[in-house]
Symmetry: none
Subunit: 196 residues, 4 copies
């Protein structure tokens, strides 16, 4: 059972992670100092070390929190969707929207993706959760005959990569195309490929 102390501790950790996210978004992961995070969180630097063992642990935990929230949102969004295409469209839209709304987090998300960094997204537990979710959808869709038979992992990776890079380019573009347009493009690309 959770004691009051546990709750307080959890709350503190959460605050610090939220602060970390805002700072990472502003300065990029490698330029964030522990002092930056402490300032943003409104606590002393020493306090940080009561709740986390190291700078790395803060960032890692921050990622987890952030990704988990996206994963939840995606799960919720697709409850009630019928076919794979509908589900996919919902997910793509939700994910693009999420990042359009949280550019901060996207910088973190990408920083995480630094694939051979100490903390690699690809091997990061919450990225795994994201990928598992997708793999389950793919597997089911194959079973239902909506998707052709192929390596489930490769399919999921590919789907994820297309969505991610389209979002990335939206971020870079000064005036990205309307949401609908990119959602449609992504779903089309994923479903039908490029062949005419």
């Amino acid at each position: 059972m959770k004691t009051k102390e546990d709750v307080v501790e959890e709350f503190r950790k959460q605050s610090i992670c939220e602060a970390a996210m805002r700072v990472v978004a502003r300065k990029g992961m490698k330029d964030v100092t522990v002092q930056d995070i402490a300032d943003e969180a409104g606590v002393a630097k020493g306090t940080i070390y009561i709740y986390f063992d190291s700078r790395d642990e803060i960032l890692s935990r921050t990622m987890e929190n952030a990704t988990a929230s996206l994963v939840d949102k995606l799960g919720a969004a697709c409850r009630g969707c019928l076919g794979f295409r509908e589900t996919l469209e919902k997910r793509v839209r939700t994910q693009i929207q999420h990042f359009d709304d949280n550019r901060d987090f996207f910088r973190l998300y990408l920083a995480m993706a630094e694939p051979f960094g100490e903390r690699r997204l690809k091997q990061h537990p919450t990225y795994q959760t994201y990928l598992s979710q997708l793999q389950r959808l793919v597997r089911d869709a194959i079973a239902r005959g909506e998707i052709r038979e192929a390596n489930v992992e490769r399919l999921s990776i590919s789907i994820a990569s297309v969505i991610r890079d389209i979002i990335l380019h939206r971020m870079i573009e000064r005036e990205p195309p309307p949401l609908d347009s990119d959602v449609e493009f992504a779903v089309d690309f994923i479903m039908r490929g490029i062949a005419s």
Copy 2:
């Protein structure tokens, strides 16, 4: 005309970049120090600064060299290819092979992609070259009716992202599938999407 000095200088720069690549591969871009590079290259730290103005310039130049060599290889590989599909297949195969052979470079390639890092692949001149090459192919293929009409940039981004992430996963996997299998998968995914 190149004097002997120019040749020597070029050779030195090349050696240092090669050393840099190996070290980046080992430690990740952000953790590489100038001393690491010097040690790997077997020269003194000061020597590095004879040939490069700053740590950043070394890394930047290293990227350029590495990417340029891949772009050349891809260009050469597709000379004589007839349709888009054949070209794509050739490119995918060449690219996967290249990274299977140069795991070091792949880490660098990915480090470059750190999208909001100081040196962003997306904005890096040689990445642009890579993308332009792809865009030209796509545009021509659309003109020939081999690819359906769609935003050329989005198409290219998506194609590139699929290839990249498949390679990335090959790198992570202890025993990646045979080359042919991934080439076939990628080409299929890109051409036909996932629909059955």
Copy 3:
């Protein structure tokens, strides 16, 4: 109102400046490293940077402190003096005494004077204060007819230079003449020149 923190901070800065002064006295301004100052102050190098932004700021601040204290002392010494000659004598005596007592500071004072160095005494705010003080005295004395009419700035410069160089030679001499003797000489030289 000053909080306790402000007081502590001020005290630390003062300690570091005092350490800096001793080290400059020993090694000369250009050869002083931040490490030297830290060692002399008995703190870690990093600590220095809590209180000062850069090596230059330490040295600059050290100068200011030191010169300001001399300027104050000179101002105080001459309160109540009647004619210019009396004032001059008081100032010369006070200044020579001050440097006889603070040989450390004299080296700093001279290092400051390095005229084309990054921090030039001639342009340094506290040197300007010193010179202004002198100029005011000269101007008043001219108005009272105690000093002949002449360019006030040139007069002040010349007076200052004579005092300074006599002190400088006292510093170099193993056994300088008694204080009174040099005071008398300087005042005489300034008032009557060398003519018989």
Copy 4:
């Protein structure tokens, strides 16, 4: 007897010193690198070390040359002067003129004057020569009754300091007063002091 080699060596040293003077004038003494001097002299860095043992030796030798030339000029200028006042005026004029014409050298001269630097003007042989010259003049003038009895060294120091600081201020001023005006001021100050 001087062999041809000696002459060549002397010539090389001279060239390097002249280059050094120009560079010191431009960048200030502490910012001059051996490479700067080599570039200015049009020789390789290594060549410098054939003729000088260290950076310090170059600078020291440069000072000596430069000061010696001033001392010679002053000696020559006063040949044939009759009284002390005439001699003094000639010297002051010559010295101001010399520095007006050689601002480069003045920066060097001042850099030398850094009194407790490794190479102190005050103890530097050629500065001693300059001072001795002045002391001889003063002593003779006292003997002839043109100057009042006083410590010869102190008198010389004071005279030198006044001349030096007036020149220094000319250097700093954007539009210094006409030569004659400063010559007259300096001679008057030295001869009669400031009293009315």
